[in-house]
Amino acid sequence: MKETNTNNFDVAEASEEARTGSGSVRPSRTLWGDAWQRLKRNKLAVIAAIWIIFIVIVAVSADLWVPQHFGSPTEIDSASMKDMSRLPPSPEHPFGTDTLGRDVLCRVIYGARISLSVGVLATAISTIIGLIAGALAAYNGGWWDTLIMRTADIFLAFPYTLFVIAMLAVIGPGIQNVFIAIGVLGWPSIARVFRSAILSVKENDYVDAARAMGASDARIIVRHIFPNSVASVVVYATMNIGGAILTESALSFLGMGVVPPNPSWGIMIQDGQTYLATEPWLMIMPGIAILTTVLAFTLLGDGLRDALDVKMKDA
């Protein structure tokens, strides 16, 4: 930040330059090493990353310690369920219990598994499709470009939530289908980002130089274009994970996503809606879980963007 203050260059111009990937003034040789150093200095991004790591560890290790303390996230104990129904938060049940007597903290923890896996897998699907489509469009240009980008336009013209819901209405609810629907419908943005990144890299001298030296297309893509344009995709994908988590929670909230009794955060909020006036923690706790997780991915994405000097088109 201090740099910008002392720097007399125009801000917009500076980032414009950074976007083209030349970055010639910096002493460091590797883009990633450089980015790592800068990321470490961004406090918010570091906190976000720590929070994400924490959630991942808790979610992955849940089977080892959660059941002993808080019981099962799905199973119902016929015998005791009546007395356990909707207890307020207490030391034994820090987030209280739900109508069927299940521990809310336990369900929030297991809900993290669903949210994280949807976030990561759906983004992976979008990214793979998006990378291939973007690369084909940008590198081949012409007819390929028109076809792919028009298709992307069609997908982007849809009201997104409606489209995902319609898709799930066709393929049915369930966690696998949620991955697929969110993943498949998310590719156009990544394709666009990657395409324009490639296009800007493609114009660079070193690509021309490589071609002049007789390098094959594949080699040019893998060795030169990909490493230099992937930064923007990494940033975009990180932010996209948060978006996918939000979408999953919305779908589950509407009853079209993850199937009960699996503990999705969206389902928990839906369940808690009835008790808004009397037992608000039932909807507040899972909401906070979504908020902090999505926020962490957004902040980490912001940090990566600054560190990698990627200029995003949409805020």
């Binding site: 016929s78 015998a79 129904s85 109508t99 069927l100 009960p260």
Partner: protein, 559 residues
């Protein structure tokens, strides 16, 4: 250049609008005069009722309020306030009573019924209510050329010629004859002693000529012969407003009107009740005890009075799991018996409904028939017996699983998810693996009809309060609601015979036998009987909410 000006102007206007909103914020609440005046312009209202004397009643958006297709509780509640059928049912006396027909005669073979209509009864538009208007109403139900064919035409199937008309083979119902203005003669296909009970159904109402002249207008603003009439039309997803009909032939209502407040689900409706915007609503699962303490419990379980506002009376309805008897896995009777034994019904009603509902033991709810011998052998909770049954045919592996995997389907919303989660828990406890599948109502019904559902759920509420209504529509081989795809020739024949019996006690005995027959085959697994879980506001007095979940607005008052 103009573009800039435009955007600036909108911007400024926006600012003004916002500050206006802020200034008004202090006076957002309506007073009574504002409530009527602010809507006088938009409504084609005739003497719009004042706010104080209107019952605000929760329903979800109905499928239809026009009687020809009134099919679910929500729409029928409106239909009932707008229309009077030939007969009514007196729950206290337990018998059918005159309504639009002041009396009727039965032929000795229980095949011909002659109804004598009340004199000088009028429709809301002034047309006379005559025998022809009943014939018109019933034929509309059977008319296959309606834009949406009626789904309740089966109620008229006992009448000679009704099915022919539904199939497009006849232009009118042969068995319905207008003798004179006030005499309607109905001839049945087969004897059916209980036909006047069928005539209590709210959909079997008379309609004026306007119903044929303007069917689309009629669908959103039906003209009836009942104690209340439409004020404006049905505003989809928002409200249906009714006012008292002063030319009603019977005792006029004491309240000025009914405002059906359409809410998307009981949870939303209940919040509105708590905010004082709704007078009568469902209680969300798990809050009954708390509300009993706050509002008091109704003495008879059916009538709301100030300080005795929570209703817990038993309903004429049963909640069961339908089991697809053609399914590869479920066609095994032993498995169905084991499933039925494995489910802890008491636990479900205790947890989800705070013990207000009763665990079911057969297909008849107690207000319909409470004979103790009705209970089925396998319709109870006995986990050990279930395991024993399963062990013989489906030995458990070392993890306790038996290699049976079932899908429990239900329509989303309501308490079905909680109930099904309980069922799943109970079944998994005996080694049967389950997964759930929830669908929206229409899609769910469609899947049930296709026979693609393994185990589903269904509630059956009495169309008319007789035992026949619990068996005929659900278990006859050819019945449309037979989602289990159950077929039992003995039962089919027994039903025809039972309907002929004029003697009430003998007839009941025959239906009890049919119930026992179903209990042996278990095409359904009854879980519980419905009970009211409703609450009224302290403004209400003497609002009777009957076991068929219809409020009787005619006698309701304000405290």
């Amino acid at each position: 250049m103009s573009g800039l000006n435009v955007s600036r102007r909108t911007f400024v206007e926006g600012g003004i609008a916002a500050s206006a909103v802020a200034a008004l914020a202090a006076c957002g609440k309506k007073d009574d005069s504002a409530a009527t005046s602010s809507n006088a312009g938009s409504e084609a209202s005739s003497g719009s009722a004042s706010k104080g004397n209107v019952i605000k009643y929760y329903i979800t958006n109905p499928v239809a309020i026009d009687p020809y297709n009134a099919q679910e509780t929500q729409g029928m509640q409106v239909t009932q306030a707008l229309y009077d059928s030939l007969t009514g049912f007196d729950w206290d006396a337990g018998k059918v009573v005159p309504k639009a027909a002041e009396s009727w005669d039965v032929s000795d073979d229980a095949k011909v019924f002659t109804f004598h209509l009340v004199k000088d009864a009028k429709f809301h538009n002034g047309d006379p209510v005559d025998a022809a208007s009943f014939k018109r109403g019933w034929e509309r139900i059977c008319d296959p050329t309606m834009s949406t064919p009626s789904v309740i035409a089966y109620h008229l199937n006992p009448i000679k010629g009704a099915e022919e008309m539904q199939e497009g083979k006849a232009k009118e119902i042969e068995g319905v004859k207008v003798v004179d203005d006030l005499t309607l003669e109905v001839t049945l296909k087969e004897p059916m002693a209980e036909f006047p009970y069928i005539c209590t159904h709210d959909a079997l109402a008379p309609v004026p000529q306007a119903a044929l002249d303007d069917p689309e207008g009629f669908a959103v603003a039906p003209i009836g012969n009942g104690p209340f009439k439409m004020d404006g039309k049905w505003v989809s997803d928002q409200y249906i407003n009714l006012v008292r009909f002063d030319d009603y032939y019977g005792t006029p209502a004491k309240i000025d009107g009914i405002y059906f407040s359409i809410q998307k689900d009981p949870a939303t409706a209940f919040r509105e009740f708590e905010a004082g915007n709704i007078d009568f609503t469902d209680i969300p699962a798990g809050r009954i005890q708390e509300l009993e303490g706050k509002y008091g419990t109704s003495e008879d379980g059916y009538t709301v009075n100030p300080g005795k506002q929570v209703l817990k009376g038993e309903e004429a309805g049963v909640y069961w799991l339908t089991v697809n008897v053609n399914d590869e896995v479920l066609k095994d009777l032993t498995l169905r018996q084991a499933i039925s034994l494995a489910i802890n019904r008491q636990n479900i009603v205790d947890t989800v409904f705070e013990g207000t509902r009763l665990p079911a033991t057969c297909v008849f709810p107690t207000p319909i028939d409470d004979d103790p011998s009705n209970a089925w052998e396998f319709c109870k909770y006995d986990k050990e017996a279930a395991i024993k049954l399963l062990d013989e045919k489906y030995p458990a592996d070392d993890k306790g699983k038996r290699g049976i995997k079932l899908t429990l389907s239900y329509n989303s919303g309501g308490d079905h998810e909680d109930i099904m989660s309980c069922v799943q828990g109970d079944l998994e406890a005996v080694g049967i693996e389950c997964e759930q599948s929830s669908m929206e109502w229409a899609a769910y019904l469609s899947a049930m009809g296709d026979g693609t559902v393994q185990i589903g759920r269904m509630g059956w509420n009495a169309d008319f309060p007789i035992m026949d209504n619990f068996i005929y529509p659900n278990f006859l081989t050819t019945s449309e609601n037979n989602y289990s795809k159950y077929s039992n020739k003995e039962l089919d024949e027994g039903l025809v015979e039972a309907r002929k019996i004029l003697d009430e006690e003998k007839r009941k005995a025959a239906y009890r036998e049919l119930n026992a027959m179903i209990g042996k085959d278990l095409p359904v697994i009854p879980l519980m009987y419905y009970a009211h879980n409703n609450v009224g506001s302290e403004r209400l007095k003497n609002l009777y909410y009957n076991p068929q979940t219809k409020a009787d607005f005619e006698k309701a008052e304000f405290a």
